[in-house]
Symmetry: C2
Subunit: 245 residues, 2 copies
């Protein structure tokens, strides 16, 4: 992979530029290219919306031209409105952002993701000069996303290409199958201890197995629940045979 | 599937509520629940950010309480910050939005997607009362998304659950294999017509096959390119044998 830059063409609203910068920072992108940008006052809305991107992505944004972007990058234009068929190649064929992520993973080029104006997006003349078309699937009734929201979704889908590590811990602690089996056994032991009706016992044990099977319990959950069931079984037997029985 | 509502708890910024309403409208969601909302002035930022959602989702938003949401819905709390392990169950185990989409597809319940405050999100006390935890994967360095952007991504990932039809036409017009084969043959004919060196012919034909194989051309592309190649072959032969040869 080369670098992936985000290019914003002729945006009107500083807040949208800030929103895009924030999404870039959230998902590990650094290079922001601005064609005819609005004024980005450090005390204004762009910096107000940028979160931590106010420290690097936004002040580091590069003012450039559409020509320079076309010349130097493999360009992907974003649009809500595609052509319907192959009879017109301005906005066709197109990819979804998820498909784009797959495709970009396989190529070695500097890529510019190109977003257009708040009201009309990229013009047909601009789109025709870009290498690839990407469109975010949305409801047919109202598919036009806000500029900042569209870029956010695109960057979210492409986050895997930046090599940035996620904040989420790997979930590796589904309990071992053997430990989960122990939890199922403990439930059976409880049914015994409380004198559950013999004829219904297998059916109820199966119900518990299905429920636990759907829940994929963690080690901690299994340990805690086994403890609860064991304790309940002991108490039930104390009641039967102990001093209070 | 039951209905999927979006609940926003104690948001400060009308613009974020508008952004969320717009994403709901874009992705086919209708029910917006607001707990302690900011003032939503019809001339203010919420309506300004809502796009077409200013016509239905936003004015139809229902003011409610956290208790009522917990009572009436299968609740999914969103947070950027999860617990690291199963030692603490306030924010663990968690799902990503894509995983949540898969899980919700299989259940029949009314679901509330619950989003918290701009600065601190949902409190531990609130999270502990919700059924499920969802976290959007982002860069470890700065995983905290803006409220409106987080909701936008969640709704984008869950769009398939609403039954809303996408604006994108189905791409069904990759040309037939037979037609594509014809385009490959036409290229071979061109190599013949231009007197391409015999020893390199097979290799160059293979290069063309590989390129076309990657590009998945449409019917239109195949037809147009076959025409171009045929014309070029004819011209090459005219030059050899015709009046201008």
């Amino acid at each position: 992979m080369g670098e992936i830059a985000v290019a914003v063409v002729d945006a009107d609203t500083p807040g949208n530029v800030g929103t895009i910068a924030r999404a870039m920072k959230n998902f590990g992108f650094a290079d922001l290219l601005l064609v005819d940008p609005p004024d980005l006052d450090p005390d204004g809305e762009a910096y107000g919306m940028a979160g931590h991107a106010r420290e690097d992505v936004l002040p580091g944004a590069e003012a450039t031209t559409f020509d320079a972007i076309v010349e130097n990058y493999y360009t992907v234009g974003f649009t809500a409105i595609t052509n319907e068929t192959g009879a017109n190649h301005v906005r066709y064929p197109f990819l979804t952002p998820a498909e784009l992520a797959g495709e970009l993973a396989g190529i070695d080029a500097d890529v510019a993701l190109v977003f257009g104006r708040e009201d009309v997006g990229l013009t047909n003349e601009e789109m025709a000069r870009l290498d690839r078309v990407c469109s975010i699937p949305a409801g047919a009734e109202y598919p036009v996303l806000n500029l900042g929201q569209a870029a956010t979704i695109a960057l979210y889908e492409l986050r895997g290409l930046t090599g940035t590590e996620s904040q989420l811990p790997e979930i590796t602690d589904r309990a071992d199958a053997e430990r989960i089996e122990g939890l199922l056994d403990q439930f059976g032991a409880l049914l015994d201890a409380i004198g559950y009706r013999e004829v219904k016992r297998a059916k109820t044990a199966r119900l518990w197995r299905r429920l636990i099977g759907r829940a994929h319990p963690t080690e901690r959950e299994v340990t805690t629940l086994r403890g609860v069931l064991r304790r309940a079984s002991e108490r039930a037997q104390e009641d039967d045979h102990g001093p209070h029985g």
